[in-house]
């Protein structure tokens, strides 16, 4: 059970870092450019919101298979197998939780006035400088919200992990899978503990998030 907790925490943390690294430029691009491609990218990002996780998991399972191109390239580069690995879980989780990070950031970037960025530029601030000293502090609440949602959603993930992660304790067995496992083997005592832990974690995360967003709404 503690192994599952550790895997879950590690997965959620690593996934959140990747989500922010990939989601931020993507959200910026979606918020700031309008071209014929944007609706397609936006739809792709939002897909996990409506798709059964098993669908995404199914395609990833095929993509990560050792005979597949992705699987082979991965093995050539890293020397390790992708299928049923922790890395595969991270990739799956990043794709699955992407809308939870991209959407709040995209909304924040869209609201960020161009006028302020222009003023900073006319004071000699380069794009990187503007990102650090203007975009980041002005959008900090949204970054925190995006990271929290990405983290919490990864913790709550089940379908994708079930499809691509297998059930290797200490490697790919996360809490939600462990719970499923215990119920299957009628170990209801442990199942109760796991279910309660997951529920409390999610509830506390959301309460913290809403409390912050209320505070920011009162005094930006």
């Amino acid at each position: 059970m503690f192994e599952a907790l550790w895997v879950t925490a590690k997965l959620a943390a690593v996934t959140t870092v990747w989500l922010l690294l990939l989601g931020t430029p993507l959200a910026w691009w979606l918020a700031r450019t309008q071209n014929r491609l944007s609706p397609f990218i936006e739809a792709l990002v939002a897909l996990p919101l409506v798709l059964p996780p098993t669908v995404l998991g199914f395609y990833l399972l095929i993509a990560f298979a050792p005979q597949s191109t992705i699987g082979q390239v991965w093995e050539a580069v890293t020397g390790q197998r992708l299928a049923f690995s922790f890395s595969a879980l991270v990739i799956g989780s990043v794709l699955y939780s992407l809308p939870f990070v991209v959407q709040p950031l995209q909304a924040a970037f869209r609201q960020l006035p161009d006028a302020l960025l222009e003023a900073a530029a006319s004071l000699g601030a380069t794009p990187g400088d503007r990102a650090r000293h203007l975009v980041w502090p002005l959008c900090r609440p949204s970054f925190i919200a995006a990271a929290s949602l990405g983290f919490a959603h990864t913790v709550g993930e089940f379908g994708v992990v079930l499809m691509i992660g297998g059930n290797i304790p200490g490697e790919t067995q996360v809490l939600s899978i462990a719970l499923y496992d215990r119920v299957e083997s009628l170990d209801l005592g442990t199942a109760h503990a796991l279910a309660l832990a997951l529920m409390l974690f999610s509830l506390v995360t959301l309460i913290l998030l809403y409390r912050q967003s209320h505070r920011w709404a009162v005094r930006p």
Partner: protein, 361 residues
């Protein structure tokens, strides 16, 4: 040598801006009705608006734009003060000024010194949303000044500040420009503001350049873009001759003639600028003997031009400077005015520009 040499275009919907000019050092006023392209011109020079690939902009020895070259705004030695202040909302006033100071382009004033000068010291610890619009504009101006760009682009600075405060603010800008070798393009639709500090004037209408030249020269023309304005006024240079504190007046000298204005703190011998509205100047053949009007100048008719209505604009030479008078056609006929006539001009009101003071009657 010109400081700024450019040929820029911009297009927004059906609006087309095309301006080509060489501007000297010092302060250049950009004048025109709203929608004439004043702001677009500034945005083009700042690099915040795209033009065509044939445009070129050169600031001193640096090409900002030319064929294939386009310097981003942060690399242009140009600072812009926007009409809508654009202060950074997450920073205090001091934080905003520090942002500009950390990116200062050349050594200049410090925050405390400049804040004192522009009267914003009391707000340094406040956030922008705690300030009025006029106060925000003052801070925005301070922020750009502290950044010390070679060229300042000022879009109606102090539009939300009262005329007296704005006048003083513009004077501070002029002083700083002088002191730190900055130049400025000052956009305004208020000729009085421009007459105050600008040496050169660029007049725009419908995105086209209407006139460009020394402000004093353009202001005293009887035809051209400025002559049509209701409040057209000649701008003249004068010297402080004597203070009369008993009556609270100051005597100025223009071409060896005397002109009285409200007492000014400017010391004797200093140069001042005057703004003399054409509608406040009346003409007569003989020197009036008893009149409540203090100021009567001997002038020579240089040019007469009919304007749209039943009125005429008369250009009057006073030494090497010019005065304008707006009179009716009836007056012209009854006076029998001809170019070269010597006349007396009675001036009902004069505005001494640098303090905004005036002496009526």
């Amino acid at each position: 040598m010109s400081l700024l040499d450019f040929a820029v275009t911009a297009r927004r919907g059906s609006f087309q801006l095309t301006v080509e000019a060489q501007l000297p050092y010092g302060i250049t006023g950009v004048y025109g009705a709203s929608g004439s392209g004043k702001t677009s011109l500034l945005l083009r020079i700042a690099g915040l608006m795209r033009g065509s690939s044939e445009d070129h902009i050169q600031l001193k020895n640096t090409l900002l734009e030319s064929e294939g070259r386009w310097l981003p705004p942060e690399q242009r030695d140009v600072g812009m003060v926007f009409q809508d202040a654009r202060l950074f909302p997450h920073l205090t006033v001091r934080g905003n000024l520090e942002f500009a100071l950390q990116r200062q382009r050349r050594a200049g004033l410090g925050i405390d010194e400049l804040s004192q000068m522009l009267g914003i010291t009391a707000w340094l610890t406040r956030k922008p949303d705690e300030l009025s619009r006029g106060q925000q504009q003052r801070v925005a101006l301070a922020r750009t000044l502290i950044n010390m760009p070679r060229l300042l682009l000022l879009d109606e600075p102090g539009a939300n500040i009262d005329a007296e405060g704005r006048r003083r603010l513009l004077h501070d800008v002029a002083t700083l420009c002088d002191q730190y070798e900055m130049a400025a393009l000052l956009v305004s639709h208020d000729m009085a503001d421009l007459a105050d500090v600008a040496e050169t004037l660029l007049v725009l209408a419908q995105g086209q350049q209407q006139a460009l030249g020394p402000l004093i020269e353009l202001a005293s023309q009887v035809s051209g873009p400025l002559a049509q304005a209701q409040d057209t006024a000649a701008i003249m240079n004068a010297r402080v001759d004597e203070h009369d504190s008993q009556y609270g007046l100051t005597r100025l000298a223009i071409a060896d003639q005397a002109l009285w204005v409200d007492q000014t703190p400017a010391p004797r011998g200093s140069a001042v600028r005057l703004r003399l509205p054409a509608r406040d100047v009346s003409l007569c053949h003989d020197a009036p003997k008893a009149t409540s009007i203090l100021n009567v100048l001997s002038v020579k008719v240089a040019e007469v031009q009919a304007d749209a209505g039943n009125r005429l604009l008369v250009r009057l030479a006073l030494g090497d400077q010019y005065l304008l008078a707006r009179i009716t056609r009836k007056s012209l006929d009854s006076l029998g005015l001809r170019v070269g006539d010597r006349l007396y001009a009675q001036i009902k009101s004069t505005a001494l520009i640098d303090r905004g003071g005036s002496a009526d009657d």
